[in-house]
């Protein structure tokens, strides 16, 4: 999985591309934790190019969302498509995590 990071205003926009398996899940957690340690608290995770997520991937999305929330931050997800959308719907992630249609919609106001 490839993770590319940019910043729009105060928010870190993280684009995940490829397959989010157990190894990629650890990389994603590390990337979020590094941002939190730098003092970033607002995140938008763009899943437009993510075409697979395993249960380890789901767990890392949940774990990091909890850590960000506990740090008084926020993480919004957007552009959930295809198989990932199917897995989100099946596991109910779309009812627990804030999910938006686009990066623009997901940016904190």
């Amino acid at each position: 999985m490839n993770i590319s990071t940019s910043k729009i205003d105060q928010a870190v926009v993280m684009e995940l591309a490829g397959r989010m398996d157990v190894i990629a899940a650890m990389e994603y957690e590390k990337a979020i934790m590094a941002c939190l340690q730098r003092g970033d608290l607002k995140f938008v995770v763009d899943l437009n190019a993510l075409d697979y997520v395993s249960s380890a991937g789901l767990r890392s999305l949940l774990t990091t969302a909890k850590k960000v929330k506990e740090s008084k931050g926020m993480v919004n997800f957007c552009n959930v498509k295809g198989v990932v959308k199917e897995v989100f719907a099946m596991s109910g992630f779309d009812t627990i995590l804030p999910i938006f249609k686009s990066v623009k919609d997901a940016l904190p106001s």
Partner: protein, 218 residues
């Protein structure tokens, strides 16, 4: 820290009587199988998706029960669905229950007593010696369910296991339970292994209900 198999066993135990509470048919068998797989998943030894379960790291965990499961999972060269492995380990439930019980006794959480009832049946009871672990997990789950907090992975697994065995209603008054039922279902769905486990238990219950109704009609 207790393993999920130990935690679900303690949740399923009637604290006062020291015996397993009445549970849906095969629920504890599948819950223990699911608990072991979920422990391995949280220790990054296995991963699952909507079609199959795969071993991602063969390094032993240091837990003899989990390491036996991990070895067993590596014996099958073709990836199998999670449901296949749940049935595989649920079929070994008696042996697994004995090992989990032995560990809880060894840790000083339970003690074993043999009593005779009416001089006929010998019933083995397992009174809880150290209630701290049980109370802690029950309080944690209750607070999480009543809040709108995001759960961590361990909490998701415990809610899933507790819900599949219908043990969570004990944590709430009937009025509270009505209010939180939807949240419990939403939280329990978050784990893919747990979902498969709950589905297996429901299917067995359905089959049993059909078989019973056919017997009554005959």
């Amino acid at each position: 820290m207790l393993s999920f198999a130990e935690e679900i066993f303690l949740l399923a135990l009637d604290d006062k009587q020291g015996v397993i509470k009445p549970l849906p048919v095969s629920a504890l068998d599948y819950a223990l199988a699911g608990a072991m797989l979920m422990d391995l998943a949280l220790q990054d030894r296995i991963d699952t998706d909507l079609t199959s379960l795969s071993v991602t790291d063969t390094k032993p965990t240091g837990d003899p029960i989990l390491d036996d499961v991990l070895r067993d999972l590596q014996q099958n060269p073709v990836p199998q669905p999670t449901s296949f492995w749940l049935k595989h380990f649920a079929d070994q439930s008696k042996r697994i229950q004995e090992r989990v019980l032995a560990r809880l006794i060894q840790k000083g959480i339970l003690k074993q007593e043999n009593r005779r009832i009416l001089w006929v049946f010998e019933v083995r009871r397992y009174p809880v010696m150290d209630n701290h672990e049980v109370k802690e997990v029950k309080t944690r789950l209750r607070e999480l369910i009543l809040s709108d907090d995001i759960p961590d992975s361990r909490e998701v697994v415990l809610i899933n296991l507790g819900n599949a065995c219908r043990l969570l209603d004990d944590l709430f008054t009937p009025a509270e339970y009505e209010k939180v039922r939807a949240r419990i279902v939403a939280l329990a769905r978050l784990d893919l292994i747990g979902q498969e486990m709950a589905k297996s238990i429901r299917e067995i219950e359905r089959t049993m209900a059909i078989a019973m109704s056919m017997t009554m009609m005959a």
